[in-house]
Amino acid sequence: MSSIPAILPKDAAAAEGKVNVQINGTWYRFPKGTRIVDACNSVGAHVPTFCYHPKLSIVGSCRMCLVEQGMPPRLAPGAAPTYDENGYQPISWMPRAVIACANTVGENMGIRTNSKMTEEARKGVLEFLLTNHPLDCPICDQAGECKLQEYTADYGRGTHRFTEAKTKKGKNLSIGPRVNLDQERCVLCRRCVRFMKEIVGEEVLGVVNRGTHNAISCYPGTTLDSNYSMNTVDLCPVGALTSKDFRFRMRVWFLKSTPTIDVNCGTGTNINIWTRESKVYRITPRQNDEVNSCWMPDSHRLNYKYINAPERILTPLVKTDTKAPQRPATWDSALNLVVEQLHKCAPTETAIVASARMTNEELYMVRALARQLGITKLDIVSRKGAGDNMLVSEDRNPNTNGVKMILGKTGTGLNAIRRGVRNGTVRFVIALGEDLTSPEAGFTKEDLEGLDYLLTIHHSENETTRMSDVVLPGVTFAEKYGTMINVAGRIQRLNKAIEPMGEAHSDWAIFRDVSERLGCDCVKVIACPTPMMVLEEMAQEFEPMKGLTWGNIGNEGKVILNTGVTIPLIERTKAKN
């Protein structure tokens, strides 16, 4: 006869607001209200799902997540519950499997994800999903990241039992400017429908017909043209919705994904960049519940083409005479030339136009350079646009907060610089990562022509670089490490996904080399081998960054400033829960 523990596990768990759940024979504790699927996944008992998505309403229609479940036996009136030596009640297993997505854990609940019943249920459901599936995996873009494929490997029979004619539906349908639909591949999980309705608030997708003819569709004449349409492609567990941009371009298993952040606006959407060798093939959102949930706008997602564009500047370009055309140079000679020229510029007549698209580390180096040269005319180009009340911020610069903290600038000084250029008090300009002729910067070609000296660091050719005396090739966000601070004051990391194009150098390293050659004697600057070290340097100086290291920022970032700015979509999601 075994004794019962003095404190029953159920009481101990209840004190923490938790319940005891037995998963595959082992007891765990989970907070009340945890979904069975989340509970199982968190302890490594993987539950396959198609329709379940933590950010969408639960429909429970794919039936893939069936698990065997049991509860303590229902007691006869007056009977006392029995406990084993560990203080748990026996579990009476239910005769039929339940879905793990819609049900939450309960006290003394038992779950089996590896039992015969569970296995049979999954096998059965999977077989049904495959009956009318076209099995065109060799040419399907989803191949390699398809849940149907994945689960077929886990639960497939290996042979076909379905030998009848398949249901025919629409194929290769354009449902929007960026998304294609194949109705036959669809498993009707309705994630896309729910996303458009619940997150975007536009009911453009729906299910039509019934029974086996059920199909996802949009209404003729309306298209899935929302700026968030491509999230449906990410959500689609199979190859029914595919991205027109990525279609047939690369097998996903050749791609390497690098977690980093988007630099198209101040939100700093967390993303993965998918690359093969030195080419970027696509960008997908990366979950961060404090920044972008699981989503990202199409406009940002598709703005990566410039990384591998022919406009990229691959070597330093110099002009040896004002009238001469630019010609390629080696880094060594270009840097020497720059140093020589900078020495000639009177600091009071020199201005630096920096960019809020730079990382904190780059900005820090810019500040060091400006101080070294004694330049005080320094500001950035601010970019404003309409916010979309979702994820696109009004601030179209990704690091305005970093600029504010490090340079103490907000872009208001740019007017003075422009005036100075026009009235001749500014004769030398250093343009860093900005095209001065862009509408936001507001310089004209004539302004630039009138300058005595123009030095540019930029990754791609533009009007400013063409008119520059020296162009040093920098890199895009995909080619560098660094940190930025988003509108909500969260510092986040950029990771290098590909090596710099051609002979381009990371911008921070260029500044370091220029500083060094200018005669800077600060060991910390000239000996700095990585941007991570720059970060640590900054952490010493700036109060909000105190204690920060590259490692402890993590992939999700850290809030270091209280800006009072929030991200509308995140606020809405939080309010819903």
Partner: protein, 193 residues
């Protein structure tokens, strides 16, 4: 051969039917809008979407079927979206997306009626009204006679199983129907104006 519309465009592709001459064409009028508003008002506030089916029934009664032009209008009336309305319209077999004949046969084919000869009756009616039974498929369950006067559609259980075979002509149910009765009904109906 003309190109088939794709699976999405097919939702609103015109499906001409000879039955159309017996029904007025769908047109948004003040009266129609008022009638729809009345139906919407039957449901609690903020639940306008509930009126989707009632409005569909109203239009179908007047115009015979739900034409492509009607769907966006219905959506507007019940504060819904066209794709939602299309989803509802294409779900229910009782909602027609092409015009039935003036007199619409619904022949029960479910077990009890089938046991009492429903399927043979179906073939008989098809022959009488000049419709090819093979043209009736899951995707196109309704066929209209060339003169537009008749249409036929196999349906599932009409809930009069003890008295099969059952046939509905428009809103009227006929039970224990025989070929002889069909002959009589067809001649009676064709005499109606």
């Amino acid at each position: 051969m003309s190109e088939q519309p794709n699976a999405i465009d097919a939702l609103t592709a015109a499906k001409p039917s000879p039955g159309e001459k017996y029904f007025p064409k769908f047109e948004v009028t003040k009266e129609l809008t008022e009638e729809a508003a009345k139906l919407v008002a039957l449901y609690p506030e903020g639940k306008e979407q509930s009126a989707v089916l009632p409005i569909i029934h109203m239009i179908q009664e007047k115009h015979g079927y739900i034409c492509p032009e009607a769907m966006p209008w219905i959506a507007e009336m019940c504060k819904s979206t066209p794709i939602h309305v299309a989803g509802v319209v294409t779900f229910y077999p009782g909602i027609h997306t092409s015009c039935p004949g003036k007199y619409h046969f619904r022949v029960c084919r479910t077990i009890a009626c089938a046991l009492s000869g429903g399927e043979e009756l179906m073939a008989y009616i098809c022959g009488k009204i000049g419709v090819d039974p093979a043209s009736l498929t899951d995707e196109h369950p309704m066929a209209v006679s060339p003169d537009g006067l008749w249409s036929i559609e196999p349906v599932e259980c009409l809930a009069n199983c003890g008295f099969g075979p059952n046939v509905m002509i428009n809103d009227t149910l006929y039970s224990q129907v025989t070929p002889k009765m069909i002959d009589k009904l067809i001649s009676e109906y064709s005499k109606k104006d």
